[in-house]
């Protein structure tokens, strides 16, 4: 491995200072599993590791706490903690399911929720260091290549899919992200956090290299039920072929508000606004669920080898909707 310098800053402010000073040489470390793999494979230029696990003043960074209206999740909370924390499992089952479905126990034990949200692509071409857009090149190899797992929505010029499981769930729950940077902090809606390649092909979100995703606020909503369903190509340690995060605010058996976001099918967690509008004020019947499934894949633009994702996504949305709505 290349020479690395590990830095254990005292505080978030000091972390940001260090990230600012070292520019692209520096990267923030939460769990570190994926970052180390990318360093070993020369996918990123990192030489300085700003290790948040080493913070002496962690504050709320590794806690899940109640807020006046909802919960606050520290960015350093691990996926294992998130998937089993009583505050999460009680009110936000979809988030717990998403966190618990990622990777393997070993990775969930160290991998953080912030790291999961900010995960780099797992596109084969990116990971094999092809000179693609994501590596500063001028083409997307998956567009006409081995694109079985690539985007069917929102692609172009890059056709990566966003690999995060927790991000779609957080968006459906109306989460906000607290971001700490050199000029202080800002709070942004989870649904505004992610960036399509047509906006900026070099990144997946709006986070600047010297910013840290510090906290996640999830509001509490009475009558909310949520779930996360995921289709894999083997049963452990791979990313979603397609996934759906779904949150329904129910008034009796009528949906007062629906929130639905797809994972694994677009360069960002892919919101289904039209489906949400379709469902609002409705009782979920078999035919409405089928209609929702069809609407979910309306406008899909499959590549040469991923047309099956359209079929899978339509069916997954329909089935997930029906089973969540029918829960007592």
């Amino acid at each position: 491995m290349r020479r690395l310098t590990n830095v254990n800053p005292a505080s978030l402010v000091e972390s940001v200072e260090r990230l600012t000073a070292d520019g692209t040489r520096a990267a923030v470390v939460g769990g570190g599993t994926d970052l180390l793999g990318m360093i070993k494979d020369d996918l990123v230029p990192t030489e300085v590791l700003v290790n948040l696990k080493g913070l002496t003043e962690r504050g709320s960074l590794d806690l899940v706490e109640t807020e006046p209206v909802g919960i606050r999740i520290g960015g350093l909370v691990t996926l294992a903690q998130l998937s089993t924390h009583p505050l999460v499992t009680a009110q936000y089952r979809g988030l717990a399911e998403a966190a618990g479905s990622a990777a393997t126990p070993q990775i969930r034990n160290v991998g953080t929720v912030a790291g999961n949200i900010c995960q780099r692509p797992w596109c084969w071409y990116f990971r094999q260091n092809f000179p693609c857009y994501k590596h500063g090149g001028n083409r997307c190899f998956s567009r006409v290549g081995e694109n079985e797992f690539n985007a069917i929505f929102g692609g172009g010029p890059s056709y990566i899919v966003h690999p995060s499981d927790t991000a779609p769930a957080l968006i459906t729950l109306g989460a906000n992200f607290r971001i700490v940077g050199p000029s202080g902090e800002r709070v942004i809606s989870a649904s505004d956090f992610f960036t399509l390649p047509r906006t900026d092909v070099s990144r997946e979100n709006i986070l600047e290299p010297n910013e840290v995703l510090a906290n996640i606020y999830v509001p509490s909503t009475p009558g909310l039920r949520s779930t996360y369903a995921k289709v894999l190509d083997r049963e452990a340690w791979t990313h979603a072929v397609t996934s759906v995060a779904l949150a329904l605010e129910m008034d009796g058996n009528v949906v007062s508000r629906a929130s639905i976001v797809l994972g694994g099918v677009a360069p960002i967690p892919w919101p289904l606004k039209a489906v949400e509008e379709l469902l609002a004020g409705q009782r979920i019947t078999e035919s409405l669920a089928a209609e929702a499934g069809r609407l979910a894949v309306d406008g899909a633009q499959p590549l040469s080898k991923n047309g099956y994702k359209v079929t899978l996504t339509e069916n997954l949305v329909r089935n997930t909707l029906q089973s969540l709505a029918n829960e007592v």
Binding site: T5, N6, L36, D41, F141, K305, N319
Partner: protein, 897 residues
């Protein structure tokens, strides 16, 4: 030495080296070692507890936790299988929670508590899980076992009474390529194994016994090649071609040689050593020009540590002139396509003719004329990696002109022979040691290029060299199963009798012919008119060669799918169709020594309740479609030469055999045979193995041959030893006795085969494209089973491996660039705990007079029928047949469209 003179020295060395060839030159003259030490990397002082012991250490910030444990604390029980957090072999506990120690930096463990496999036992008292792993036969090759134990331990620490699903979920991040998932889970659940021989067991043979070396495998004490450290050892790394086909126009090693700590850089210019077992037809150098596949070695470096070696690779400039390339084996035979090897892309036959391998009998025209139904179909199988847990590695040490090589080989005798031949030294100057090795499944049968590269670097450097391949290199540089395209045309008369059987097949061998490239399976059927034409083809994919049951799993998938289709078109139950068309003679010509295929089918069908479960497929489109399938397989149980030496001293027997035990429990089986033959207890037998200086010739653990070959030798030596004892008329006393034997039994005019019939029920999720195995029954005949416990483990593992081949494993190539895009456990989707169903295993045990105690073979047969059985079940469930592997969601959705 000041930097200027050092640089000058090295430059002149390079100039000299470039003009000559190995082995005459050395890059460094005696007494002028380039012993510069690289400038220190950033370091940090940390304090941590490892297995309850406090350490305060200066660590480089870049050291991973596993690197600290293995390289600096000598805790080598924790293994590195992928170094990317994808396999779990490196699992340790950090503050009581399992983590991948390859994916954590040592500096991040500051102030924390680390527990490794070495910390599980309390002195000599094993952890209950370790004992359960021994009793329940958890470890096969054992390379993943430490990680499995740590994950299992975490499960029971948080939940003393877990459900089976909780155990599997908790161990989901630990891959076992021997695929002993059933055993691991059962051991954690404290569910004891049940298998027993159905023959009356002899005193020791036929009795289930835990592996005699199981304790070493569950405590981290078993020494694998990567665990070997010798004084002054250098570390090596290899540059590999990023192009599928290119001419190297320039290699500049100047900057690498100038790096402090770099001792040797070798390229084709300095090294013309050939790797003869790497290609039986063409010269294959250690470093080739042109390079012919992505992963072809271009240069190698030996340096003072692994980081320096790696850094040196990055400053070696290589200019490539890309050449046209071809990946597809049928396309490679078209005119106007680039020649991968001089003379054309059809690999020549043994006689040198550039013709397909042809077998035929009868007259196809006659057969098709007599057929009422003819099925013509094409099946396409893919490159499938062996993916053994232990990446290739080697430690080479020269003492004068004597080479000691530690290598994870399947055959120490073969490797010694090959190393001597390739290095042009007498075999007695080569000592090959393999104490434990982490699987191979056919890709470590002979010497490996990693062995040769380490040996050549060590000779150049005048110091020992360790070379450990990365997981990606192992996927690209080590061979996998050859991809095939199989065109069948098969005819039968209305009563279901086969009349004509034609196969035209193509096998993609990559640019080198290491193995046959055969497509096997049609010889299992009775048919008067047969023609099989198989073309092994050179391509620019990675090299393909032996992988468990080499020519069968893909061939049997093809032929058994077509047979199933033919039965369907004739409206005959496939079980009846099989029974009607089986042949009692190999290729319908050569009688078997014993033949139990029919019994495997009928007993398996009874146990599975086939008669009540099989229905004609109705093409229904239920959300979940259930179906059943069956397929058969056979594999040669050859007889042949091996040696054994028995040494009796003070009522204890030492058994010297040149085996390595690749996870097959060979040592245990051989000890059982020796104990049986000598009327001794198993505990009175010590096996001496894995060292060519201490052991006689053994055939090697390939081709499922060791039990018969080496077992015969043991029995024959035992007979001699017993004669010597008898001749002493009870006056043995303390007199040491030695007996040895090297039999070479043959079976003139007969064939000897193990057989199997598999039955499976699957569910196809027609909406999400998933295929789930619901029940799997493997009925096997492998002669008498020497050790039912470990034999069943092998069958379970082989079947599970076959499920991976059927459902998701494949090395995928980018067609535009010729570069593989998914080399590794993550991308290639190797089976995990959550993918592995329970495999039910039964043995039929006939008396076959030719094997040691009637034993045949176990290792390769179980993988053979699997893909076919699953494919046939998919057809039964859906009425659609998937004719290209693997049967992923894409292909299921396409098939159902």
């Amino acid at each position: 030495m000041n930097p200027v003179s050092r640089r000058a020295f090295l430059k002149s060395s390079v100039a000299v080296t470039a003009a000559t060839t190995f082995p005459r030159t050395r890059l460094s003259a005696a007494g002028q070692e380039p012993d510069g030490v690289p400038p220190a990397a950033p370091q940090t002082t940390i304090s941590l507890r490892v297995n309850s012991e406090r350490h305060t250490l200066e660590v480089e910030d870049r050291w991973t936790l596993v690197e600290l444990l293995r390289d600096h604390l000598q805790l080598t029980g924790t293994k590195v299988g992928c170094d990317r957090g994808e396999c779990g072999a490196c699992t340790v506990h950090l503050d009581g929670m399992p983590v991948y120690s390859c994916s954590q930096l040592a500096v991040w463990a500051d102030g924390r508590e680390v527990t490794t496999v070495e910390g599980l036992a309390d002195g000599v008292h094993l952890d209950p899980l370790q004992q359960a792993f021994i009793d329940g036969d958890g470890p096969q090759c054992g390379f993943c076992t430490s990680g499995q134990l740590m994950s299992a331990k975490a499960v029971v620490m948080t939940n003393p009474n877990p459900t089976e699903d909780e155990v599997r979920q908790g161990m989901a991040g630990n891959i076992c390529r021997c695929s002993n998932y059933n055993r691991y889970v059962a051991a954690v659940m404290s569910r004891p194994p049940q298998q027993a021989s159905r023959l009356d067991p002899l005193a020791t043979v036929g009795v289930s016994h835990p592996r005699i070396d199981a304790r070493e495998r569950v405590t981290g004490l078993a020494q694998y090649t990567g665990d070997v450290a010798v004084p002054d050892m250098l570390y090596a790394r290899v540059i590999r071609s990023p192009h599928p086909h290119a001419r190297i126009t320039r290699i500049d090693t100047t900057h690498a040689l100038e790096m402090p700590g770099v001792h040797v850089v070798l390229t084709r210019q300095q090294c013309d050593v050939t790797w003869s077992s790497g290609d039986s037809h063409n010269p294959r150098y250690l470093f080739n020009n042109p390079v012919r596949f992505v992963g072809d070695p271009v240069a190698a470096v030996a340096a003072i540590d692994r980081h320096t070696a790696e850094a040196a690779l990055k400053v070696i400039d290589v200019d490539y002139e890309p050449l046209d390339f071809v990946l597809d084996h049928e396309e490679a035979l078209l005119s106007g396509i680039v020649e991968v090897q001089p003379g054309g892309n059809l690999s020549p036959r043994r006689d040198g003719e550039r013709l397909p391998e042809i077998y035929q009998r009868g007259d196809l025209d006659v057969g098709f004329a007599a057929s009422d139904v003819i099925v013509e179909e094409t099946y396409v199988s893919k490159h499938h990696n062996n993916a053994q847990m232990e990446p290739r590695s080697a430690v080479a040490q020269w003492t004068g002109d004597q080479l000691t090589l530690w290598s994870p080989t399947q055959g120490i005798s073969n490797t010694r022979r090959d190393m001597a031949r390739d290095l042009d030294i007498p075999p007695e100057r080569v000592r090959v040691i393999c104490q434990y090795m982490g699987g191979g499944f056919g890709n470590k049968n002979q010497n490996q290029d990693s062995d040769l590269i380490a040996a050549v670097l060590a000779r150049e450097a005048g110091r020992p060299v360790k070379l450990e391949l990365t997981r990606k290199e192992d996927f690209l540089g080590v061979h996998g199963r050859w991809p095939t395209t199989q065109h069948y045309k098969i005819g039968a008369s209305r009563d279901g009798t086969l009349q004509a059987l034609q196969l035209r097949g193509y096998s993609g061998m990559g640019p080198h012919r290491k193995s046959s490239g055969g497509i096997a399976g049609i010889e299992l059927f009775r048919c008067p008119n047969v023609r099989r034409e198989v073309s092994p083809v050179y391509t620019n994919m990675t090299v393909a060669a032996n992988f468990r049951g080499p020519a069968y799993p893909q061939g049997v998938w093809g032929i058994e799918s077509v047979m199933d289709q033919l039965a369907h078109e004739l409206a005959i139950d496939p079980l009846d169709f099989h029974l009607h068309n089986l042949t009692r003679e190999y290729n319908d010509e050569t009688p078997y020594t014993s033949w139990s295929l029919r019994e495997c089918i009928t007993e398996g069908a009874d146990r599975f309740d086939w008669a009540n479960r099989w229905r004609q497929p109705n093409g229904r489109t239920d959300r979940v479609a259930r179906g059943v399938g069956m397929a058969i397989g056979m594999f040669a149980a050859r007889l042949g030469r091996s040696s054994a030496v028995l040494r009796l001293e003070q009522n204890h027997l030492w058994l010297h055999i040149g085996v390595t035990d690749i996870g097959t429990a060979t040592k245990t089986a051989m000890a059982q045979i020796a104990a049986e033959a000598m009327d001794m207890n198993l505990t009175d037998v010590t096996v001496v193995w894995g060292d060519t200086d201490q052991c006689p010739y053994s055939v090697g653990e390939s081709g499922s041959r060791t039990t018969t070959h080496t077992g015969h030798a043991i029995i024959q030596a035992a007979e001699d030893l017993k004669r010597q004892i008898a001749a002493l008329n009870g006056a043995l006393g303390d007199r040491p006795l030695i007996a040895q034997a090297t039999p070479e039994p043959t079976i003139e005019g007969m064939a000897r085969y193990a057989s199997a019939a598999h039955f499976v029920e699957i569910e196809v999720d027609t909406e999400l494209g998933g295929i789930a195995v619901m029940q799997y029954l493997a009925m096997h005949e492998s002669g008498r089973i020497i050790n039912p416990l470990t034999a069943e483990s092998q069958i379970k593992g082989g079947v599970t491996m076959g499920i991976g081949m059927a459902l998701h494993e494949e090395l995928v190539y980018d067609r535009a660039t010729g570069v593989p895009v998914n080399p590794g456990y993550y991308g290639a989707k190797v089976m995990t705990h959550l993918d592995a169903p329970e495999i039910e295993v039964h043995f039929i045990e006939p008396i076959d007079t030719f094997g040691p105690y009637s034993a045949k073979n176990v290792g390769e047969p179980p993988v053979i029928p699997v893909v076919a059985a699953i494919g046939n079940a998919v057809f039964n469930a859906t009425g659609r047949r998937i004719k290209e592997l693997p049967m992923t969601r894409t292909r299921v959705v396409e098939a159902l469209a």
